[in-house]
């Protein structure tokens, strides 16, 4: 695989954007800006899914995160007072634990990368995963099929909805 193929260039651009926006999301002083940078990170993740041909997950990523979670964040930020600058002083103990967490996290990711290799090399590029296969895998009962988690998540979602309605009800 050549280094400067079209796919590789796009991948590196997207990866760089994700990295820069992730850092900006935690270093910026304004809450809404942080949410916006997080949105760009999620866009980048969706772009990676699209590049891998997993368009279903890419679209779901856009819909759930960009259209759902971030909108929720922005709503709650817009409806509360949050125009203060949030520059906090980090104590030395906190800084040390932060660094330790970062190193452990990076080690974990590198371990996964070196044992499994880049996903780009194992997944055929430019081929779309048919949505029929995704659907069958979600409701099938064989090996590598996920009907039990699917149902459990549905029940969880139902419980969340009932809880939400209960909290939002005016009369007790």
């Amino acid at each position: 695989m050549e280094i400067l193929s079209f796919q590789n260039i796009v991948f590196f651009v997207v990866a760089l954007a994700i990295a820069v926006c992730s850092v900006l999301a935690v270093t910026t002083g304004k809450l809404l800006r942080a949410a916006t940078y997080l949105l760009f990170v999620l866009f980048g993740t969706a772009a990676i899914f699209f590049m891998l041909g997993y368009t279903f997950l890419g679209a779901v990523q856009l819909m759930v995160y960009a259209g759902g979670i971030i909108v929720l964040y922005v709503f709650s930020i817009a409806l509360t007072r949050s125009d203060k600058d949030m520059k906090y002083k980090v104590s030395k103990a906190k800084l040390f634990s932060l660094l330790a967490t970062t190193v452990v996290g990076a080690a974990l990711v590198l371990l996964l990368l070196f044992t499994n290799g880049f996903a780009l090399n194992t997944i055929p590029l430019g081929e779309e995963l048919p949505s029929r296969e995704v659907g069958l895998a979600l409701v099938g009962t064989d090996k590598y099929q996920f009907v039990l988690p699917f149902e459990v998540v549905s029940v969880l979602l139902l419980a969340c909805m009932i809880g939400g309605i209960l909290i939002a009800r005016k009369e007790k």
């Binding site: 193929s5 079209f6 304004k30 809404l32 800006r33 916006t36 949105l39 368009t55 279903f56 890419g58 679209a59 779901v60 856009l62 819909m63 960009a66 259209g67 759902g68 971030i70 909108v71 922005v74 709503f75 930020i77 817009a78 409806l79 779309e128 048919p130 949505s131």
Partner: protein, 366 residues
């Protein structure tokens, strides 16, 4: 049934020929890059031209419903040059900056709105073999991309640093995320009927009859629900409460000027077109010609009309329906808007989906 008409104006061989010719004189990567640039330019030009046509149409339709003449001075009879003149005017206006506002988010918001609009715009099935963004989850991508626009509206309202825009944005956002649910459910209903999410396949499955005829009563109810929810999604009357001048000035885009305002304005009109285009795709057969069983001569004549004419014709028909709606009904209040969605339209669309599932399982659709 004779399906030869599908090949009359198929663009696929022509596009393949252009691609192989380009690959012959330059490396494939460069050829694909060039094609992407050309297609991108075509999308933007189409976007701008359609916006001009739609704004002119809106003025004329509005005038007709209010017993006026509409624009008739600029550009000879009918005022054809009125909108191009307005375009030039808005292009040379100053884009100003706000004091004490978040400049980055203030500048970003219109681009998020226009990005969502252009992404969904390029998913429309223009012609046989002429779809631009084609993937096997096409319609899901349309729903996903259109949800980015809400974020643009919310950011615009917040970053303008004004109470009017903030309230306008929160109202618009609440309305859009509510009506998105109905749109999703009706789209799912039609996906159930077609058996696929690929936009091209949805159109192809209607070669032997449009979905609105195949799904009879259920599909007609779903069509009406889609039109109501789509009208709200495009932020247009009777759901244009964000622009209720007497309480909110112009809603979330009050503080924008020049082309930044122009982006919101463009996106509103193109969202109208996209809503109609998706309605055409899901219910009225996309670029498929009209066939009436038994009238073979009539069907043969219909087959010779190119797909793009059918698509644009049907889409502009739906656009006209939506404009008719806009200029007929008075504006709703925010509580009425949300009551209508959560208490009537959403339960109804869930019921429609259930009935469609039953019909599909027992073979009650054509």
């Amino acid at each position: 049934m004779n399906q030869a008409f599908l090949d009359y104006y198929n663009l696929q061989p022509l596009l393949a020929a252009i691609h192989s010719w380009l690959c012959g004189i330059m490396p494939e990567g460069l050829a694909i890059f060039l094609e992407c640039v050309v297609v991108g330019v075509i999308i933007l030009v189409l976007y701008a031209v359609l916006a001009i046509i739609l704004i002119y149409m809106e003025r004329k339709v509005c005038a007709a419903f209010q017993c006026r003449i509409g624009p008739n001075r600029v550009g000879g009879k009918g005022g054809l040059l009125q909108v191009p003149a307005d375009v030039i005017k808005i292009l040379i206006k100053e884009v100003f900056k706000l004091k004490n506002a978040d400049q980055f988010l203030y500048g970003l918001a219109p681009f998020l709105v226009i990005l969502a609009s252009i992404l969904t715009f390029s998913c429309l099935p223009w012609h046989n073999g002429g779809e631009i963004l084609s993937m096997n989850i096409g319609i899901l991508f349309v729903l996903a991309a259109s949800s980015i626009g809400i974020l643009g509206i919310l950011l615009a309202g917040w970053s303008s640093n004004s109470k009017y825009t903030l309230i306008g944005a929160v109202r618009s956002g609440a309305m859009l995320i509510s009506y998105e649910i109905s749109i999703g459910i009706t789209v799912l209903t039609m996906v159930m009927l077609s058996g696929t999410m690929d936009i091209h396949e949805i159109v192809m499955s209607q070669a032997n009859g449009w979905n609105i005829f195949k799904g009879h009563i259920v599909a007609i109810v779903a069509f009406i629900i889609y039109l109501i929810a789509g009208n709200a999604e495009a932020n247009r009357g009777p759901f244009d409460l964000a622009e209720a001048e007497q309480e909110l000035t112009a809603g979330y885009h009050t503080e924008y000027s020049g082309m930044h305002f122009g982006f919101f304005y463009l996106a509103e009109y193109l969202n109208l077109f996209i809503t109609s285009g998706i309605a055409t795709t899901l219910f009225l057969g996309g670029w498929m010609p009209l066939h009436i069983a038994g009238l073979d001569g009539f069907n043969a004549v219909m087959d010779y009309i190119p797909g793009i004419v059918w698509f644009l014709g049907k889409t502009f028909f739906v656009v006209f329906l939506l404009m008719w709606l806009r200029w007929t009904y008075p504006r709703l209040r925010i509580d009425q808007v949300l009551t209508l969605e959560w208490k009537y339209i959403m339960p109804l669309s869930l019921l429609v989906m259930l009935v469609m599932a039953v019909c599909k399982v027992y073979g009650l659709v054509f």
